[in-house]
Subunit: 248 residues, 2 copies
């Protein structure tokens, strides 16, 4: 690996990427100890503080575990503990996402589609079709970006989707009016993650800021999984509330 100085990409981000690649390729496995910071600095020809900045980002992202006096270790693949809530009644996806903001008399967000791109990634949930990825940012009335979303859909089922999204319509509106597809909630999951550099940029926060990650699948009328979505919300701006009936 070689570092490119003055390339516009900070050195510590390049180091971070390098370490991530090594972890993803298996060169560095879970439980392995990283070389000491002084050694990494020497090997890369950078200052130790620069190394520390890279390692700090990885630590907040949960990819490494730092143990003072002992070393920095590749984190084990997290054993994710899924907490299942009781099944909820299936509701129409678009309508109920607005209905959730009961106190408002209109949608408090402006959604702007940033890009519609072909994606070679496939999502098992949606089958083997080539996917189209839609990226958008939601902004409050006062102009703060607070949500960034990614949607994946079958490119085969929704040909020419990008043309439907150029006039500022939301994805769900386009799917209903141009393709006659109405969507319903399939499942949702909630967790907490650190903002990457790109997400931090879009949401106007510093990298590492806690975001609430909401992933899920929307299904069509026949129950077929149709849209996979991944939404990140500023953790300090959103709160999911579960109320329990106290009549029992």
């Amino acid at each position: 690996m070689h570092l490119r100085r003055h390339s516009g990409v900070p050195l510590y981000r390049q180091l971070e990427s390098d370490l991530l690649e090594r972890m993803d390729s298996g060169e560095l496995g879970p439980g392995d100890r990283l070389p000491p910071e002084t050694e990494l600095a020497r090997r890369w020809g950078v200052n130790r503080l620069t190394v520390r900045q890279a390692v700090g980002e990885l630590a907040r992202a949960g990819r490494v575990t730092v143990r003072r006096g002992s070393g920095t270790f590749v984190a084990h693949r997290p054993l994710v503990i899924a907490v299942d809530l009781p099944p909820l009644p299936m509701t129409e996806a678009e309508r109920s996402s607005s209905a959730a903001f009961a106190a408002q008399d209109h949608d408090p967000f402006t959604e702007v589609v940033l890009s519609v791109t072909d994606d070679d990634r496939t999502v098992a949930e949606l089958g083997p079709d080539p996917l189209v990825r839609v990226e958008s940012v939601h902004t409050t009335e006062s102009g703060d970006p607070v949500i960034c979303s990614r949607y994946w859909l079958s490119g085969r089922r929704f040909p020419g989707l990008s043309g439907s999204l150029t006039d500022g319509r939301s994805l769900y509106t386009a799917l209903r009016t141009d393709f006659g597809t109405r969507l319903w909630y399939g499942w949702r999951s909630l967790s907490a993650v650190a903002a990457t550099a790109g997400e931090a940029d879009a949401l106007d926060v510093v990298p590492g800021t806690p975001l609430m990650l909401r992933e899920g699948v929307n299904v069509d009328e026949t129950g077929h999984p149709t849209v996979f979505l991944s939404r990140r919300m500023r953790g300090d701006r959103f709160r999911y509330v579960l109320r329990y009936d106290t009549d029992g």
Copy 2:
């Protein structure tokens, strides 16, 4: 304000506390610009990097907004957007929290009570009684601390609670066996926050790591709010799953 060097408390934490106090006292109000980093460094007699470390923590915690080239500003009180889920049936708090881990045949966590202390704080939700605060840490079978919890209860209603918790019993067990109180879910909320220094220490992560914050109230048989709880879970280890019935 004066800084104490070599006091065991890092300088940047002292700066952080000082800025927080000024924000909480109203001396620095929402939207106000902080003095430039160079000015803060000069005024406090520390290096600019030390100031930056303090400001970085505040930024990840959402207390300040950093704008490159323009300044650092006190964040506005976040307009929290509450997303209400449909009401769920009230269930017994202890039983269903274990039942949520359906795949397991036993509770996968060990809960250790760290402290039981009187607290002059009051929680409106629980009434005017003086409160007792219980702190605990939950550990997985492999020994990883993954949850830290705080509970607040009426000290008047549960006198001598600390004596009931010394033998390793869980709070709910103690309340049932020693006080005859069974608890039920009232409400819960979910959001994402940054780990403070203390939480980071308890959960073996670096400060600023995203945690899932779950707050709520448990009620007794009569529906009376009885326990306020605040639980922080490692964001990379927990995932809440909501399933929707697809039979409709």
